[in-house]
């Protein structure tokens, strides 16, 4: 790419080409949809098109994640924008014949609103989408992530062209500072300031790193962005490189995300071919190139100093900061580390200006944030919303509330570093500082909803178990302290808790927070401390009464057959431990001494006649 003019000419040309193929079928190719079988749907669709001689008329585009993972495989037919969900290969014949040939919607494949039970044909009318405001996810699910031209057609790489040809490096940093963008990966450090530190560090060699080692259980926004719009991440990184004076960048991505790695590789090679990576970008003397490093399965490598150690080929053990990576990072050189979502916001800031960006959000948290909705919620998937929105709006308006008429109990936000917030905190406007004040954390934005059937002690134990196995083992409070906390929590969930255990948990939690070496340890106790704070009665029930109010801790519950049992023998057949006995039409019985409490019987019982108590 020799100049901005050349890029704009290309954009216009591609836009014209794309308009010619106005008729297209978008098939979501995100990981969620791949696992529910979108590849088969895509194949079936293309043979149906062939069978009906529509191959030239309709183009099938495999997009990145559309966000609504639970309803996959998703298919959207353009130009009508009809949104079909849970499409199976068998449905494709009807879809092609009805929708494409007769232009009549296939009712049974439409999304049905869980409350009004109405079928909705355009995704724009579905509450899950209509309440969102997308910046980072803007292109995800709408363009072919493996075609750089489609990205260019949306105005892609124009921000880069503008930055390197029309702006001084310092102006770029000033713009990012003014926009008020804060790091989307965890702590929320102001991005512009981080860039400034790295720019001001004296050294001829500097590096840019993209932290794509998304590891928070329950968060998958980075994965979706990488799979759905990889060029946006590259563009953000190249702009960062220009701003701080680096000519080399690394993307550290989880090896568990093979599709993301594949699409990134493709995006990088396309960008190189077009001269958007390499030497003399846009005819200037700015050079920049990118390399991919695949992680090897260590959550702690999301911590920036550990990530750097891992890129260098070492054990991913964090180091004390200061010196910060902006002073001494990769191979001792000043290094700027941001995460995927942060870089995805950069091009918008440069193109539309800081003012427009900062018009969204709250006083101290600007812009939008992507959240991953998961757990006991109707609409699981990815949503991007303005900062300052309340938890209630996300869970009920966008997420569609709790399934199966269950009661909301808590929402866990921020992954293993985050905390569990109770119902009374649902009106909390979500931004970095209010979450921290409430004992949780923005983290990467994983939102896991829990209902009355979730035991909060068990959830705390679950997160501790995760931290214990992911602690790098370097510092005493994190590696030993969390293990000791876990032992206490295990004791409590097994009904062997002691009265002084709760104080000991708090004690350990505070010391681990205060004295651990890195962010992993400093936040490891959050899930325990926040549940102890908001759900202490549940802990007390386990310790004092030896009961689990949620009915989740196995050693504290028993399975019972109620009088609702009609004697259908379904549970007798399905029980993997063979401990249910009973004749047809007679009330069954469970041999509790051998029962493994696996819950299969509850799942299969048509009369809800098996209960836990």
């Amino acid at each position: 790419m020799k100049s901005l003019v050349e890029l704009k000419e290309l954009k216009e040309k591609v836009q014209i080409d794309l308009e010619k193929t106005e008729k297209k079928i978008l098939v979501c190719g995100g990981t969620g949809c791949v696992s529910s079988g979108c590849k088969e749907v895509q194949e079936a669709l293309s043979s149906e098109l062939a069978a009906n001689d529509l191959e030239d008329e309709y183009k099938i585009v495999e997009t990145g994640c559309h966000g609504f993972c639970e309803k996959g495989p998703l298919v959207i037919v353009y130009p009508e924008e009809v949104f079909y969900c849970k499409v199976s290969p068998e449905d494709t014949k009807e879809l092609v014949e009805e929708q494409l040939l007769k232009e009549e919607v296939v009712e049974k494949l439409l999304y049905q609103d869980p409350v009004s039970k109405e079928s909705i044909s355009s995704y724009r009318d579905i509450a899950f989408y209509s309440a969102q405001q997308q910046t980072a996810l803007a292109n995800c699910g709408h363009i072919d992530p493996e075609d750089i031209e489609e990205y260019i057609a949306t105005g892609g790489y124009e921000a880069l062209g503008k930055a390197v040809t029309e702006m001084e490096a310092q102006e770029v940093i000033d713009e990012v500072k003014e926009a008020g963008l804060r790091g989307r990966g965890g702590g929320g450090f102001p991005t512009g300031l981080k860039w400034q530190f790295t720019r001001d560090a004296e050294n001829d060699t500097k590096y840019i790193i993209c932290n794509a080692d998304e590891g928070d259980p329950g968060a998958f926004m980075d994965r979706s962005i990488l799979e759905g719009d990889p060029h946006k991440v590259l563009e953000g990184m190249i702009i960062a490189g220009y701003a701080i004076g680096a000519d080399k960048g690394y993307i550290y991505v989880r090896a568990e995300y093979p599709l993301a790695v594949k699409r990134l590789k493709k995006a990088i090679s396309q960008a190189r071919e077009r001269g958007l990576l390499g030497e003399n970008l846009f005819g200037t003397d700015f050079d920049f190139d990118l390399h991919i490093k695949a992680g090897a399965g260590a959550f702690v490598c999301g911590e920036e100093t550990a990530l750097i150690a891992s890129i260098e080929g070492k054990r991913g053990m964090p180091q004390s900061r200061p010196p910060y990576p902006s002073q001494e990072g990769l191979w001792g050189k000043p290094t700027n580390v941001n995460n995927v979502e942060t870089y995805s916001n950069i091009s918008t800031i440069i193109t539309n200006g800081a003012d427009e960006f900062s018009s969204v959000g709250t006083e101290d948290s600007k812009g939008t944030k992507v959240f991953a909705l998961a757990g006991k919620i109707n609409n699981t998937g990815l949503v991007e919303v303005p900062m300052g929105i309340t938890m209630k709006e996300i869970i009920y308006d966008i997420g569609g509330g709790i399934p199966n008429d269950k009661e909301f109990k808590a929402v866990q936000i921020g992954g293993p570093s985050g905390g569990c917030l109770p119902e009374e905190k649902l009106d909390l406007p979500i931004d970095y500082d209010s979450l921290t004040d409430a004992g949780a954390m923005m983290g990467s934005g994983g939102l896991v909803v829990m209902d009355e059937g979730t035991c909060m002690v068990d959830i705390a134990r679950f997160f501790l178990d995760f931290t214990v196995s992911e602690s790098c083992g370097k510092c005493t409070p994190c590696s030993e302290g969390t293990q000791r906390m876990l032992e206490i929590l295990e004791r409590i969930t097994q009904g062997k808790g002691k009265e002084e255990d709760l104080d000991e948990l708090e004690n350990l939690g505070k010391t681990i927070t205060d004295t651990s070496l890195c962010g992993l340890g400093k936040t490891a106790s959050n899930p325990v401390l926040s549940t102890l704070n908001y759900f202490r009665d549940e802990y007390e029930a386990h310790v004092n009464d030896r009961t689990c109010p949620a009915g989740a801790c196995k050693p504290l519950i028993e399975y019972h057959v109620t009088d609702d049992c009609s004697g259908c023998t379904k549970c007798v057949d399905e029980c993997p431990a063979d401990v249910i006995s009973g004749e047809k039409k007679e009330k069954h019985a469970i041999d509790r001494t051998e029962c493994t409490k696996c819950g299969v019987c509850i799942d299969v019982c048509p009369f809800d006649a098996i209960i836990k108590k």
Partner: protein, 166 residues
Amino acid sequence: MTTCQCGDLEENKEKYLAPLKEILENYDQKEEDLIPVLQDAQEEYGYLPKVVLREIADSLDIFFSDVYGVTTFYSQFHLEPRGENVIKVCLGTACHVRGGARILERLQDELGIADGETTEDLKFTLESVACIGACGLAPVMMINDDTHGLLTPGEVPKILDQYNQG
């Protein structure tokens, strides 16, 4: 299981290490290449045998102990042969609240092995993982590259059967 796959003869060792040498040629052979080389080598050999680690240490000119330290740090790497089919049961938060543990238990019962083990016939390796980012489909497991979502324990035997043939 730790018996050397290369035999004792120098000639056999050379033959055994030939694919590794090809892998190494794709790299500059600096310390920073250690993790990618280990990844490629594991892809080639299925696991990381001692002779392979030693050869990597020599080629990259780093301590054998460092290679071993790195290998044991990352959960992706394995020092023992693995099953033909690798089952990864997700126990991330979303899967946890939707009963991922029950899927794991059922798999353990069906296969007769514990988390992290391999069946004697080397057909299956079972392991639990933190999050595979398919939270929308919880509970989820991956067998090799296939993701199976929205699982119930009852479906487990059926799915295993698909991989048990041949």
